[in-house]
Symmetry: C2
Amino acid sequence: MTDAPTTAPVARAATAGEVLAGYLTAQAGAFLRALPQAVGEAGSRPGALPASAQAADDLLRAVRRVGGALHTFAAAFDPAWAQESRTELRWLLNLLAQEPGYRRRSTRLLGALDSLADTAPDGAGMLAGHAGAPKARALLERQLTLARTRAHTALLQELRSARLHALADRMTLLAGDVPLVAPAAAEPAEALLPQTGTALGALVATAERLPWQRSAEAYAGAGLHRLGGPVGEPGTVPAARGSAADADAALAADDAPWLRARILVKRARYALEVCGAPGGELLELDRVLGRHQEASDAAATVATAARTPRITPATAYVLGVVHADQRLDVEAARYAFGRQWPAVAPGLVGSAAVVAD
Amino acid sequence: MTDAPTTAPVARAATAGEVLAGYLTAQAGAFLRALPQAVGEAGSRPGALPASAQAADDLLRAVRRVGGALHTFAAAFDPAWAQESRTELRWLLNLLAQEPGYRRRSTRLLGALDSLADTAPDGAGMLAGHAGAPKARALLERQLTLARTRAHTALLQELRSARLHALADRMTLLAGDVPLVAPAAAEPAEALLPQTGTALGALVATAERLPWQRSAEAYAGAGLHRLGGPVGEPGTVPAARGSAADADAALAADDAPWLRARILVKRARYALEVCGAPGGELLELDRVLGRHQEASDAAATVATAARTPRITPATAYVLGVVHADQRLDVEAARYAFGRQWPAVAPGLVGSAAVVAD
């Protein structure tokens, strides 16, 4: 990645305001087109997957991009309006992302369990034919269905709320007229580059503090053993308290900087999009960190399920295997990141330096 | 590895018989020196680790080497004598290897559990502070101590047996006079090379049928998921029978060709030793396959422990995590093998072809 593709498309537009307005108008339009269908889907029974499942994805896409642009290029907008908009978009994002998140987690965990318990001669798993496998499967399915139903109910309630209507109105305004701040918006389009550079720089700074070098070594045990904070930040894992929550806290603290890196990858991707620059390598990092997050969340779900009262030892044993298997996938995602990062980082550092110059 | 170092030391000796006699006399001498101390140690209380633990290792070393040479260079010996000797050496090997094997397994499993349950801020494990960890640890320790004590008792009984005295007499004879068969022994030392080539060829043939290419890809899930027979041998995993033993059988069938490869690596190593050729790369493969075997055995021990009646769900859950962690180590060992093999194989194929020419 060099600065050439970053600057070229930006240079074609006259002002920073025009570039931002073009991007945000398009995203707000996508938001408004997807909203009715996505809301229609959410209004149907849980688990239903009509053609408009695509609409929910489109809506999430637009919400993330508008939020990202408002964050990275904050200087060009009215600060109070931008801050409010980001808060409302984040609220909708959390609301919309939950049900599909539980659906994906269900697919992931039940798929992993079925693979581990597979009895096919050429594809058996280490839990092949285990008595606890059907019970553990039923338990996970029940708990995830319950969580999904709750998320669906919460979404339904909010769809009737004044808050969503206000956000839709806000997006309608944005689709027509982006509330830019005159001095910053009037600058030439190149004025967007330092802010894009800041987004890239934030990603590089955070990623470099990840233990990616250790992770780039296969089977170094990073997902199950020797959890710790990012490099140079010892003590992010809470001190031992002798309860089961210790492990949850240690795992959450270990995963947190990776989840943070994913947010920064997305922000950097959207900033490059605004500038019309290619971000293919960031898309790949985003996918890998997405897999990290889903495996991490799925592992936590299994750990919680294993604390369900009155389960049988066989069920608990199977959940232990599935939990470790998900942590193994966390480790595998970190390995993939550790292999990709050294190839991607120099380009990002270069771009960040050039555009922030 | 080329044929040059393989042939050079052999060429210095006059006949095949002299080379074999030199090797076997030295190994039988090592056997006889180590035996009294090793037996003395075995006669002490279980778990005692006097300085003569080294003697038991030395004894095992000699037993393996004599057995390997008698197998690979069988044509040079009286067939009935060689066959009997190998049977008796294998009996002693199994007897001697058990107690140290359980000791290593105990170290491995309790170490893994302690690492998984570690609560140190910079080295916490995914079971940090878990209520089931101390119980699972006590269960594993109790079962492994019991197994070790049984192995020790069995060894003590056999130490008084006429069978061991007969084997010691056999080794005493071997240290003085190796019972060679005249025609084969009288051939020039180069006559040992085709047999060494056969040992290398057997290793190459078996290793090439291992799924090492799949294993060379990190985190492809080979140790936990998608177990199967070696390439071209589907159906080695027994058909599903819907019992917990299914998983044990599937795992055992999946590991079997790797364990077989380890035996052939050792045979090839000892054959090269007889010829005075370097076998450093085989030593490394032997280590990796040794790690595979110990992780595989340890995993099976945990699976058995998890079927102990009346354990708590928390204990069972921890055992599930530890079991998966050991299978992960199986996968890691296969990965290491898959990375080493392509570098080692061409040399072995070349040596096998040259020496068998």
